[in-house]
Amino acid sequence: MSAVLSPMVRMAAVDKRYGDYPALRNIELEVRAGEVLCIIGPSGSGKSTLLRCINQLESIDAGAIWVDGDLIGHRVVGQTLHPLGDAQVAAQRRKIGMVFQRFNLFAHMTVLQNVIEGPVTVQRRPREEATRKARELLGRVGLADRQNHYPSELSGGQQQRVAIARALAMQPQLLLFDEPTSALDPELVGEVLAVMRDLAASGMTMVVVTHELGFAREVADRVVFMDAGAVVEQGPAAAVLTAPQHQRTRDFISAVIK
Protein backbone atom coordinates (compact mmCIF):
# COMPACT_ATOMS: atom_id res chain seq x y z
CA MET A 1 0.00 0.00 0.00
CA SER A 2 2.34 2.69 1.26
CA ALA A 3 5.21 0.86 -0.39
CA VAL A 4 3.72 1.70 -3.77
CA LEU A 5 3.75 5.40 -2.98
CA SER A 6 6.92 5.73 -0.94
CA PRO A 7 10.28 4.31 -2.02
CA MET A 8 11.75 1.26 -0.25
CA VAL A 9 14.70 3.36 0.90
CA ARG A 10 14.95 7.11 1.11
CA MET A 11 18.05 8.89 2.35
CA ALA A 12 17.83 12.63 2.87
CA ALA A 13 20.81 14.90 3.61
CA VAL A 14 22.71 12.07 5.31
CA ASP A 15 26.08 12.95 6.85
CA LYS A 16 28.43 10.57 8.59
CA ARG A 17 31.83 11.36 10.11
CA TYR A 18 34.55 9.23 11.69
CA GLY A 19 36.11 11.88 13.94
CA ASP A 20 37.11 14.64 11.53
CA TYR A 21 36.94 12.40 8.48
CA PRO A 22 33.72 12.81 6.49
CA ALA A 23 32.60 9.32 5.45
CA LEU A 24 29.30 10.38 3.88
CA ARG A 25 28.45 13.85 2.64
CA ASN A 26 24.91 15.04 2.07
CA ILE A 27 23.64 11.78 0.59
CA GLU A 28 20.32 11.97 -1.25
CA LEU A 29 19.19 8.60 -2.51
CA GLU A 30 16.06 6.64 -3.30
CA VAL A 31 15.59 2.96 -3.94
CA ARG A 32 12.22 1.97 -5.38
CA ALA A 33 10.51 -1.29 -4.43
CA GLY A 34 11.58 -4.10 -6.75
CA GLU A 35 14.58 -2.17 -7.97
CA VAL A 36 18.20 -3.39 -8.10
CA LEU A 37 20.60 -0.59 -7.29
CA CYS A 38 24.36 -1.09 -7.61
CA ILE A 39 26.76 1.22 -5.84
CA ILE A 40 30.22 1.45 -7.35
CA GLY A 41 33.24 3.57 -6.56
CA PRO A 42 36.85 3.43 -5.38
CA SER A 43 37.65 1.92 -1.98
CA GLY A 44 37.15 4.41 0.84
CA SER A 45 34.47 6.24 -1.14
CA GLY A 46 31.80 5.45 1.47
CA LYS A 47 29.85 2.74 -0.40
CA SER A 48 29.94 0.20 2.43
CA THR A 49 29.32 2.89 5.04
CA LEU A 50 26.21 3.99 3.17
CA LEU A 51 24.96 0.41 3.07
CA ARG A 52 25.68 -0.16 6.77
CA CYS A 53 23.84 3.05 7.70
CA ILE A 54 20.67 1.69 6.06
CA ASN A 55 20.45 -1.17 8.56
CA GLN A 56 21.96 0.79 11.43
CA LEU A 57 25.25 -1.03 11.80
CA GLU A 58 26.58 2.54 11.63
CA SER A 59 24.87 5.60 13.08
CA ILE A 60 24.49 8.80 11.06
CA ASP A 61 25.40 12.28 12.25
CA ALA A 62 22.84 14.24 10.27
CA GLY A 63 19.94 13.67 7.90
CA ALA A 64 17.36 10.90 7.95
CA ILE A 65 16.77 7.47 6.42
CA TRP A 66 13.45 5.76 5.80
CA VAL A 67 13.02 2.09 4.97
CA ASP A 68 9.62 0.97 3.72
CA GLY A 69 8.16 4.20 5.07
CA ASP A 70 9.62 3.84 8.58
CA LEU A 71 12.06 6.41 9.90
CA ILE A 72 15.19 4.46 10.82
CA GLY A 73 16.74 4.68 14.30
CA HIS A 74 14.58 7.53 15.54
CA ARG A 75 11.03 8.57 16.16
CA VAL A 76 9.67 12.04 15.82
CA VAL A 77 8.43 13.58 19.05
CA GLY A 78 7.06 17.06 18.38
CA GLN A 79 9.91 18.92 16.75
CA THR A 80 12.76 16.59 17.76
CA LEU A 81 14.11 13.16 16.83
CA HIS A 82 14.42 10.69 19.70
CA PRO A 83 16.72 7.67 19.38
CA LEU A 84 15.10 4.23 19.47
CA GLY A 85 16.10 1.55 21.97
CA ASP A 86 18.04 -1.61 21.17
CA ALA A 87 14.89 -3.75 20.84
CA GLN A 88 13.18 -1.31 18.46
CA VAL A 89 16.31 -1.02 16.30
CA ALA A 90 16.47 -4.82 16.17
CA ALA A 91 12.81 -4.94 15.11
CA GLN A 92 13.50 -2.47 12.27
CA ARG A 93 16.39 -4.60 11.02
CA ARG A 94 14.09 -7.61 10.59
CA LYS A 95 12.75 -6.12 7.36
CA ILE A 96 16.28 -5.83 5.96
CA GLY A 97 18.53 -8.71 5.00
CA MET A 98 22.27 -8.24 4.74
CA VAL A 99 25.02 -10.23 3.04
CA PHE A 100 28.56 -9.47 4.12
CA GLN A 101 31.87 -9.49 2.29
CA ARG A 102 33.29 -12.02 4.79
CA PHE A 103 30.06 -14.15 4.88
CA ASN A 104 29.92 -14.09 8.71
CA LEU A 105 28.12 -17.41 8.96
CA PHE A 106 27.67 -18.56 12.56
CA ALA A 107 30.69 -20.82 12.88
CA HIS A 108 29.27 -23.07 15.61
CA MET A 109 26.10 -23.90 13.69
CA THR A 110 25.49 -26.15 10.70
CA VAL A 111 24.23 -24.69 7.44
CA LEU A 112 20.62 -25.56 8.32
CA GLN A 113 20.96 -24.14 11.84
CA ASN A 114 22.36 -20.92 10.38
CA VAL A 115 19.34 -20.52 8.13
CA ILE A 116 16.65 -21.31 10.75
CA GLU A 117 18.30 -19.29 13.53
CA GLY A 118 16.55 -16.03 12.58
CA PRO A 119 13.07 -17.47 12.00
CA VAL A 120 13.16 -19.61 15.17
CA THR A 121 14.99 -17.34 17.64
CA VAL A 122 13.92 -13.92 16.37
CA GLN A 123 10.55 -14.48 14.69
CA ARG A 124 9.56 -17.33 17.04
CA ARG A 125 8.23 -19.47 14.21
CA PRO A 126 7.77 -23.22 14.75
CA ARG A 127 10.97 -25.14 14.13
CA GLU A 128 9.41 -27.60 11.67
CA GLU A 129 8.01 -24.84 9.52
CA ALA A 130 11.29 -22.92 9.62
CA THR A 131 13.19 -26.08 8.68
CA ARG A 132 10.92 -26.78 5.73
CA LYS A 133 11.35 -23.21 4.51
CA ALA A 134 15.12 -23.36 5.08
CA ARG A 135 15.43 -26.52 2.98
CA GLU A 136 13.52 -24.84 0.19
CA LEU A 137 15.85 -21.84 0.33
CA LEU A 138 18.94 -24.04 0.42
CA GLY A 139 17.60 -25.83 -2.64
CA ARG A 140 17.13 -22.48 -4.32
CA VAL A 141 20.79 -21.53 -3.76
CA GLY A 142 21.87 -25.03 -4.81
CA LEU A 143 23.02 -26.31 -1.42
CA ALA A 144 20.31 -28.78 -0.39
CA ASP A 145 22.95 -31.47 0.09
CA ARG A 146 25.10 -29.34 2.43
CA GLN A 147 22.59 -28.66 5.21
CA ASN A 148 24.43 -30.63 7.91
CA HIS A 149 27.86 -29.22 7.13
CA TYR A 150 29.58 -26.58 9.21
CA PRO A 151 30.63 -23.34 7.48
CA SER A 152 34.32 -24.27 7.83
CA GLU A 153 33.66 -27.27 5.59
CA LEU A 154 32.35 -25.17 2.70
CA SER A 155 34.05 -23.14 -0.02
CA GLY A 156 33.74 -19.37 0.06
CA GLY A 157 31.15 -19.40 -2.70
CA GLN A 158 29.06 -21.98 -0.87
CA GLN A 159 29.32 -20.01 2.37
CA GLN A 160 28.14 -16.86 0.64
CA ARG A 161 25.17 -18.70 -0.85
CA VAL A 162 24.25 -19.96 2.63
CA ALA A 163 24.53 -16.38 3.86
CA ILE A 164 22.05 -15.32 1.18
CA ALA A 165 19.67 -18.12 2.23
CA ARG A 166 20.03 -17.02 5.85
CA ALA A 167 19.08 -13.46 4.92
CA LEU A 168 16.14 -14.66 2.79
CA ALA A 169 14.80 -16.84 5.61
CA MET A 170 13.72 -13.66 7.41
CA GLN A 171 11.53 -12.77 4.40
CA PRO A 172 13.06 -9.31 4.12
CA GLN A 173 11.61 -6.41 2.16
CA LEU A 174 15.10 -5.33 1.17
CA LEU A 175 18.43 -7.09 0.69
CA LEU A 176 21.76 -5.33 1.15
CA PHE A 177 24.93 -6.84 -0.33
CA ASP A 178 28.27 -5.51 0.90
CA GLU A 179 30.85 -6.52 -1.73
CA PRO A 180 29.50 -10.09 -1.74
CA THR A 181 32.12 -11.47 -4.14
CA SER A 182 35.23 -9.53 -3.10
CA ALA A 183 36.51 -12.22 -0.72
CA LEU A 184 35.98 -15.06 -3.20
CA ASP A 185 38.43 -16.89 -5.41
CA PRO A 186 37.78 -15.80 -9.02
CA GLU A 187 36.31 -19.15 -10.08
CA LEU A 188 33.69 -18.98 -7.28
CA VAL A 189 32.36 -15.51 -8.09
CA GLY A 190 30.02 -16.80 -10.81
CA GLU A 191 27.97 -19.10 -8.58
CA VAL A 192 27.18 -16.26 -6.14
CA LEU A 193 26.35 -13.80 -8.92
CA ALA A 194 24.04 -16.42 -10.44
CA VAL A 195 22.03 -16.62 -7.21
CA MET A 196 21.86 -12.83 -7.04
CA ARG A 197 20.72 -12.61 -10.66
CA ASP A 198 17.98 -15.10 -9.86
CA LEU A 199 16.90 -13.02 -6.86
CA ALA A 200 16.81 -9.85 -8.91
CA ALA A 201 14.63 -11.57 -11.49
CA SER A 202 12.21 -12.60 -8.74
CA GLY A 203 11.56 -8.94 -7.97
CA MET A 204 13.57 -8.59 -4.74
CA THR A 205 14.62 -5.05 -3.87
CA MET A 206 18.41 -5.09 -3.71
CA VAL A 207 21.17 -2.61 -2.96
CA VAL A 208 24.52 -4.05 -4.03
CA VAL A 209 27.92 -2.56 -3.31
CA THR A 210 30.15 -4.20 -5.90
CA HIS A 211 33.21 -4.05 -8.11
CA GLU A 212 31.59 -6.39 -10.63
CA LEU A 213 30.76 -3.87 -13.34
CA GLY A 214 29.60 -6.62 -15.68
CA PHE A 215 27.03 -7.74 -13.12
CA ALA A 216 25.95 -4.13 -12.56
CA ARG A 217 25.47 -3.53 -16.28
CA GLU A 218 23.47 -6.71 -16.70
CA VAL A 219 21.32 -6.77 -13.56
CA ALA A 220 21.11 -3.27 -12.06
CA ASP A 221 18.21 -0.98 -12.85
CA ARG A 222 20.26 1.96 -11.68
CA VAL A 223 23.91 2.54 -10.80
CA VAL A 224 25.27 5.02 -8.28
CA PHE A 225 28.87 6.14 -8.49
CA MET A 226 30.37 7.41 -5.24
CA ASP A 227 33.65 9.14 -4.53
CA ALA A 228 35.01 10.73 -1.33
CA GLY A 229 31.78 10.14 0.60
CA ALA A 230 29.49 11.75 -1.97
CA VAL A 231 27.24 10.53 -4.77
CA VAL A 232 28.93 11.79 -7.92
CA GLU A 233 26.39 10.52 -10.39
CA GLN A 234 23.50 8.12 -10.64
CA GLY A 235 21.21 6.93 -13.35
CA PRO A 236 20.21 3.94 -15.47
CA ALA A 237 22.94 1.28 -15.45
CA ALA A 238 23.71 1.57 -19.15
CA ALA A 239 23.97 5.34 -18.98
CA VAL A 240 26.31 5.50 -15.99
CA LEU A 241 28.52 2.62 -17.08
CA THR A 242 28.81 3.26 -20.79
CA ALA A 243 28.33 7.02 -21.04
CA PRO A 244 29.31 8.53 -17.67
CA GLN A 245 28.82 12.28 -17.37
CA HIS A 246 31.61 12.99 -14.88
CA GLN A 247 35.34 12.72 -15.41
CA ARG A 248 35.82 10.89 -12.08
CA THR A 249 33.30 8.24 -13.09
CA ARG A 250 35.02 7.82 -16.47
CA ASP A 251 38.43 7.47 -14.76
CA PHE A 252 37.12 4.88 -12.32
CA ILE A 253 35.37 2.78 -14.92
CA SER A 254 38.34 2.74 -17.29
CA ALA A 255 40.65 1.85 -14.36
CA VAL A 256 38.45 -1.09 -13.31
CA ILE A 257 37.90 -2.43 -16.82
CA LYS A 258 41.62 -2.29 -17.62
Partner: protein
Protein backbone atom coordinates in the same frame (compact mmCIF):
# COMPACT_ATOMS: atom_id res chain seq x y z
CA UNK B 1 78.83 -32.47 -4.27
CA UNK B 2 76.98 -31.01 -7.20
CA UNK B 3 78.40 -33.63 -9.47
CA UNK B 4 77.09 -36.38 -7.13
CA UNK B 5 73.60 -34.98 -6.89
CA UNK B 6 73.31 -34.12 -10.52
CA UNK B 7 74.38 -37.54 -11.70
CA UNK B 8 71.12 -39.30 -12.54
CA UNK B 9 72.60 -42.73 -11.82
CA UNK B 10 73.80 -41.86 -8.31
CA UNK B 11 70.53 -40.09 -7.56
CA UNK B 12 68.46 -43.09 -8.60
CA UNK B 13 70.62 -45.42 -6.49
CA UNK B 14 70.41 -43.20 -3.39
CA UNK B 15 66.66 -42.93 -3.75
CA UNK B 16 66.43 -46.72 -3.68
CA UNK B 17 68.48 -47.22 -0.46
CA UNK B 18 66.58 -48.79 2.48
CA UNK B 19 65.55 -46.42 5.29
CA UNK B 20 66.39 -46.95 9.01
CA UNK B 21 64.29 -45.47 11.81
CA UNK B 22 65.68 -42.75 14.09
CA UNK B 23 67.20 -44.47 17.16
CA UNK B 24 66.01 -41.99 19.88
CA UNK B 25 68.96 -42.70 22.19
CA UNK B 26 68.03 -39.72 24.40
CA UNK B 27 64.59 -41.11 25.13
CA UNK B 28 65.93 -44.44 26.31
CA UNK B 29 68.55 -42.81 28.53
CA UNK B 30 65.98 -40.45 30.07
CA UNK B 31 63.53 -43.31 30.69
CA UNK B 32 66.22 -45.38 32.39
CA UNK B 33 67.30 -42.51 34.65
CA UNK B 34 63.73 -41.70 35.65
CA UNK B 35 62.87 -45.33 36.38
CA UNK B 36 65.92 -45.49 38.66
CA UNK B 37 64.84 -42.41 40.62
CA UNK B 38 61.27 -43.71 40.81
CA UNK B 39 62.47 -47.02 42.26
CA UNK B 40 64.34 -45.15 44.99
CA UNK B 41 61.29 -43.06 45.87
CA UNK B 42 59.00 -46.10 46.02
CA UNK B 43 61.52 -47.92 48.24
CA UNK B 44 61.78 -44.91 50.54
CA UNK B 45 58.02 -44.74 50.99
CA UNK B 46 57.74 -48.49 51.49
CA UNK B 47 60.39 -48.46 54.22
CA UNK B 48 59.32 -45.10 55.71
CA UNK B 49 57.23 -44.63 58.83
CA UNK B 50 53.90 -44.88 57.04
CA UNK B 51 51.22 -47.27 58.13
CA UNK B 52 49.63 -48.03 54.73
CA UNK B 53 46.95 -50.19 56.28
CA UNK B 54 45.69 -47.13 58.16
CA UNK B 55 45.63 -45.09 54.94
CA UNK B 56 43.42 -47.74 53.33
CA UNK B 57 41.24 -47.96 56.38
CA UNK B 58 40.60 -44.22 56.70
CA UNK B 59 40.05 -43.72 52.97
CA UNK B 60 36.38 -44.57 53.41
CA UNK B 61 35.96 -43.49 57.02
CA UNK B 62 32.71 -41.71 57.70
CA UNK B 63 34.24 -38.37 58.74
CA UNK B 64 36.53 -38.32 55.70
CA UNK B 65 33.67 -39.05 53.27
CA UNK B 66 31.57 -36.33 54.93
CA UNK B 67 34.49 -33.91 54.53
CA UNK B 68 34.83 -34.94 50.88
CA UNK B 69 31.13 -34.24 50.42
CA UNK B 70 31.52 -30.74 51.86
CA UNK B 71 34.53 -30.10 49.62
CA UNK B 72 32.63 -31.20 46.51
CA UNK B 73 29.45 -29.29 47.34
CA UNK B 74 31.44 -26.12 47.99
CA UNK B 75 33.46 -26.57 44.78
CA UNK B 76 30.29 -26.88 42.71
CA UNK B 77 28.39 -24.03 44.37
CA UNK B 78 31.34 -21.63 44.54
CA UNK B 79 32.16 -22.31 40.88
CA UNK B 80 28.53 -21.77 39.86
CA UNK B 81 28.52 -18.47 41.72
CA UNK B 82 31.93 -17.64 40.25
CA UNK B 83 30.94 -18.41 36.66
CA UNK B 84 27.58 -16.67 37.04
CA UNK B 85 29.08 -13.50 38.46
CA UNK B 86 32.00 -13.81 36.05
CA UNK B 87 29.74 -13.78 32.97
CA UNK B 88 27.62 -10.99 34.47
CA UNK B 89 30.59 -8.75 35.25
CA UNK B 90 32.32 -9.54 31.94
CA UNK B 91 29.23 -8.40 30.04
CA UNK B 92 28.91 -5.35 32.31
CA UNK B 93 32.54 -4.43 31.75
CA UNK B 94 31.96 -4.49 27.97
CA UNK B 95 28.70 -2.55 28.19
CA UNK B 96 28.37 0.88 26.57
CA UNK B 97 26.72 1.99 29.83
CA UNK B 98 29.47 3.75 31.86
CA UNK B 99 27.76 3.05 35.21
CA UNK B 100 27.65 -0.71 34.65
CA UNK B 101 31.21 -0.62 33.34
CA UNK B 102 32.39 1.26 36.42
CA UNK B 103 30.71 -1.18 38.79
CA UNK B 104 32.31 -4.15 37.02
CA UNK B 105 35.74 -2.55 37.06
CA UNK B 106 35.42 -1.79 40.77
CA UNK B 107 34.33 -5.35 41.56
CA UNK B 108 37.20 -6.90 39.64
CA UNK B 109 39.71 -4.47 41.13
CA UNK B 110 38.53 -5.12 44.68
CA UNK B 111 38.23 -8.91 44.64
CA UNK B 112 41.43 -9.49 42.72
CA UNK B 113 43.26 -6.96 44.83
CA UNK B 114 42.94 -8.58 48.26
CA UNK B 115 43.97 -12.06 49.44
CA UNK B 116 41.32 -14.78 49.41
CA UNK B 117 42.08 -15.66 53.04
CA UNK B 118 41.37 -12.07 54.06
CA UNK B 119 38.09 -12.05 52.11
CA UNK B 120 36.98 -15.28 53.83
CA UNK B 121 37.75 -13.78 57.24
CA UNK B 122 35.89 -10.56 56.36
CA UNK B 123 32.74 -12.43 55.29
CA UNK B 124 32.84 -14.63 58.37
CA UNK B 125 33.24 -11.64 60.67
CA UNK B 126 30.65 -9.50 58.94
CA UNK B 127 28.58 -9.47 62.13
CA UNK B 128 31.20 -7.21 63.71
CA UNK B 129 30.28 -4.53 61.14
CA UNK B 130 26.58 -5.19 60.65
CA UNK B 131 24.94 -6.91 63.64
CA UNK B 132 21.77 -7.35 61.58
CA UNK B 133 21.21 -7.56 57.83
CA UNK B 134 18.07 -7.43 55.70
CA UNK B 135 15.88 -5.06 53.75
CA UNK B 136 15.10 -1.98 55.87
CA UNK B 137 11.47 -1.98 56.96
CA UNK B 138 10.74 -5.40 55.41
CA UNK B 139 12.80 -8.03 57.16
CA UNK B 140 16.01 -8.37 59.09
CA UNK B 141 18.12 -11.18 60.48
CA UNK B 142 20.96 -11.45 62.96
CA UNK B 143 24.15 -11.58 60.90
CA UNK B 144 25.80 -14.26 63.07
CA UNK B 145 22.97 -16.63 62.24
CA UNK B 146 23.01 -15.91 58.50
CA UNK B 147 26.75 -15.82 58.03
CA UNK B 148 27.45 -19.45 58.86
CA UNK B 149 30.80 -20.96 57.81
CA UNK B 150 28.97 -22.39 54.79
CA UNK B 151 27.56 -19.06 53.57
CA UNK B 152 30.75 -17.15 54.35
CA UNK B 153 32.84 -19.70 52.42
CA UNK B 154 30.44 -19.69 49.47
CA UNK B 155 30.47 -15.90 49.20
CA UNK B 156 34.22 -15.67 49.81
CA UNK B 157 35.23 -18.30 47.27
CA UNK B 158 32.47 -17.59 44.72
CA UNK B 159 32.82 -13.82 44.51
CA UNK B 160 36.61 -14.00 44.47
CA UNK B 161 36.39 -16.54 41.66
CA UNK B 162 33.93 -14.30 39.80
CA UNK B 163 36.50 -11.54 39.54
CA UNK B 164 38.96 -13.86 37.79
CA UNK B 165 36.36 -15.63 35.66
CA UNK B 166 35.05 -12.24 34.50
CA UNK B 167 38.38 -11.56 32.83
CA UNK B 168 38.49 -15.04 31.31
CA UNK B 169 34.98 -14.63 29.89
CA UNK B 170 35.78 -11.16 28.58
CA UNK B 171 38.84 -12.54 26.82
CA UNK B 172 36.66 -15.25 25.27
CA UNK B 173 34.10 -12.74 24.03
CA UNK B 174 36.81 -10.50 22.57
CA UNK B 175 38.25 -13.47 20.68
CA UNK B 176 35.09 -13.75 18.54
CA UNK B 177 35.08 -11.71 15.32
CA UNK B 178 32.68 -8.75 15.56
CA UNK B 179 31.27 -9.85 12.18
CA UNK B 180 29.43 -12.61 14.06
CA UNK B 181 27.62 -10.00 16.17
CA UNK B 182 26.87 -7.89 13.09
CA UNK B 183 25.44 -10.88 11.26
CA UNK B 184 23.30 -11.69 14.30
CA UNK B 185 22.04 -8.11 14.48
CA UNK B 186 21.34 -8.12 10.75
CA UNK B 187 18.81 -10.93 11.25
CA UNK B 188 17.10 -8.81 13.89
CA UNK B 189 18.69 -10.01 17.14
CA UNK B 190 19.17 -7.60 20.01
CA UNK B 191 22.70 -7.24 21.37
CA UNK B 192 21.88 -9.48 24.31
CA UNK B 193 20.36 -12.24 22.17
CA UNK B 194 23.36 -12.08 19.84
CA UNK B 195 25.63 -12.50 22.86
CA UNK B 196 23.65 -15.44 24.23
CA UNK B 197 22.99 -17.31 20.97
CA UNK B 198 25.98 -16.48 18.80
CA UNK B 199 28.96 -15.05 20.69
CA UNK B 200 29.04 -16.89 24.03
CA UNK B 201 28.66 -20.40 22.57
CA UNK B 202 31.68 -19.73 20.34
CA UNK B 203 33.59 -18.01 23.14
CA UNK B 204 33.16 -21.17 25.24
CA UNK B 205 35.91 -22.83 23.23
CA UNK B 206 38.34 -20.20 24.52
CA UNK B 207 36.78 -19.96 27.99
CA UNK B 208 36.64 -23.64 28.94
CA UNK B 209 40.36 -24.46 29.30
CA UNK B 210 41.11 -21.65 31.80
CA UNK B 211 37.82 -22.21 33.66
CA UNK B 212 38.60 -25.94 33.87
CA UNK B 213 41.89 -24.93 35.39
CA UNK B 214 40.00 -22.76 37.89
CA UNK B 215 37.63 -25.59 38.84
CA UNK B 216 40.61 -27.79 39.61
CA UNK B 217 42.13 -24.99 41.62
CA UNK B 218 38.81 -24.43 43.46
CA UNK B 219 38.72 -28.06 44.65
CA UNK B 220 41.87 -27.31 46.60
CA UNK B 221 41.06 -23.72 47.56
CA UNK B 222 38.08 -24.95 49.56
CA UNK B 223 40.63 -26.23 52.08
CA UNK B 224 41.42 -22.61 52.91
CA UNK B 225 37.92 -22.27 54.37
CA UNK B 226 38.94 -24.49 57.25
CA UNK B 227 40.16 -21.27 58.94
CA UNK B 228 36.55 -20.20 59.26
CA UNK B 229 35.48 -23.65 60.44
CA UNK B 230 34.18 -24.97 57.15
CA UNK B 231 34.36 -28.79 57.55
CA UNK B 232 36.06 -29.69 54.24
CA UNK B 233 38.05 -32.91 53.73
CA UNK B 234 41.41 -31.50 54.85
CA UNK B 235 39.85 -30.20 58.05
CA UNK B 236 38.21 -33.61 58.65
CA UNK B 237 41.59 -35.28 58.19
CA UNK B 238 43.14 -32.85 60.65
CA UNK B 239 40.41 -33.49 63.20
CA UNK B 240 41.15 -37.21 62.99
CA UNK B 241 44.91 -36.91 63.34
CA UNK B 242 44.63 -34.50 66.27
CA UNK B 243 42.93 -37.43 68.02
CA UNK B 244 45.02 -40.41 66.84
CA UNK B 245 48.35 -38.81 65.92
CA UNK B 246 48.57 -40.48 62.49
CA UNK B 247 49.43 -37.21 60.72
CA UNK B 248 51.02 -38.43 57.48
CA UNK B 249 48.53 -41.26 56.97
CA UNK B 250 45.55 -38.90 57.18
CA UNK B 251 47.22 -36.34 54.93
CA UNK B 252 47.79 -39.12 52.40
CA UNK B 253 44.11 -40.06 52.62
CA UNK B 254 43.18 -36.48 51.75
CA UNK B 255 45.76 -36.44 48.92
CA UNK B 256 44.31 -39.59 47.37
CA UNK B 257 40.84 -38.05 47.33
CA UNK B 258 42.01 -34.72 45.94
CA UNK B 259 43.91 -36.49 43.15
CA UNK B 260 40.94 -38.71 42.36
CA UNK B 261 38.52 -35.79 42.13
CA UNK B 262 40.90 -33.70 40.02
CA UNK B 263 41.46 -36.62 37.63
CA UNK B 264 37.72 -37.03 37.09
CA UNK B 265 37.33 -33.29 36.52
CA UNK B 266 40.10 -33.26 33.94
CA UNK B 267 38.32 -36.02 32.02
CA UNK B 268 35.11 -34.00 32.15
CA UNK B 269 36.95 -30.99 30.78
CA UNK B 270 38.15 -33.02 27.79
CA UNK B 271 34.58 -34.01 26.97
CA UNK B 272 33.37 -30.39 27.21
CA UNK B 273 36.20 -29.10 25.05
CA UNK B 274 35.29 -31.53 22.31
CA UNK B 275 31.67 -30.49 22.43
CA UNK B 276 32.43 -26.79 22.06
CA UNK B 277 34.93 -27.33 19.25
CA UNK B 278 31.91 -27.83 16.94
CA UNK B 279 32.38 -26.24 13.56
CA UNK B 280 36.06 -25.52 14.28
CA UNK B 281 37.60 -28.73 13.09
CA UNK B 282 37.07 -30.35 9.73
CA UNK B 283 35.53 -33.72 10.36
CA UNK B 284 34.29 -36.73 8.49
CA UNK B 285 30.75 -36.10 7.32
CA UNK B 286 29.83 -39.61 8.48
CA UNK B 287 30.59 -38.50 12.05
CA UNK B 288 28.31 -35.47 11.74
CA UNK B 289 25.93 -35.18 14.69
CA UNK B 290 22.43 -35.43 13.25
CA UNK B 291 20.39 -32.30 13.71
CA UNK B 292 17.33 -33.20 15.77
CA UNK B 293 14.93 -32.41 12.99
CA UNK B 294 12.55 -34.39 10.83
CA UNK B 295 14.19 -35.72 7.69
CA UNK B 296 12.98 -34.74 4.27
CA UNK B 297 13.15 -37.18 1.40
CA UNK B 298 16.06 -36.63 -0.92
CA UNK B 299 17.78 -34.24 1.49
CA UNK B 300 20.69 -34.83 3.81
CA UNK B 301 24.09 -36.36 3.34
Amino acid sequence: MTSLASSPMVAAETARLPRVRHRHVGRWLAAAAILGVLALVVRAFAQGQINWAVVGQFLTARSIITGLGFTLIMTVLAMLLGIGSGVLFAVMKMSPNPVLRGVAEFYIWMFRGTPLLLQLLLWFNLALVFPTIGIPGVASWRTVEVMTPFIATLLGLGLNQGAYTAEVVRGGILSIDFGQTEAAMSIGMTRLTALRRIVLPQAMRVIIPPVGNEVVSMVKLTSMASVIQYPDILRSAQTVYYANGLVIELLLVASVWYLGVVTLLSLGQMVLERRFARGRVRRQIAAAPEVALPKVEGAGA
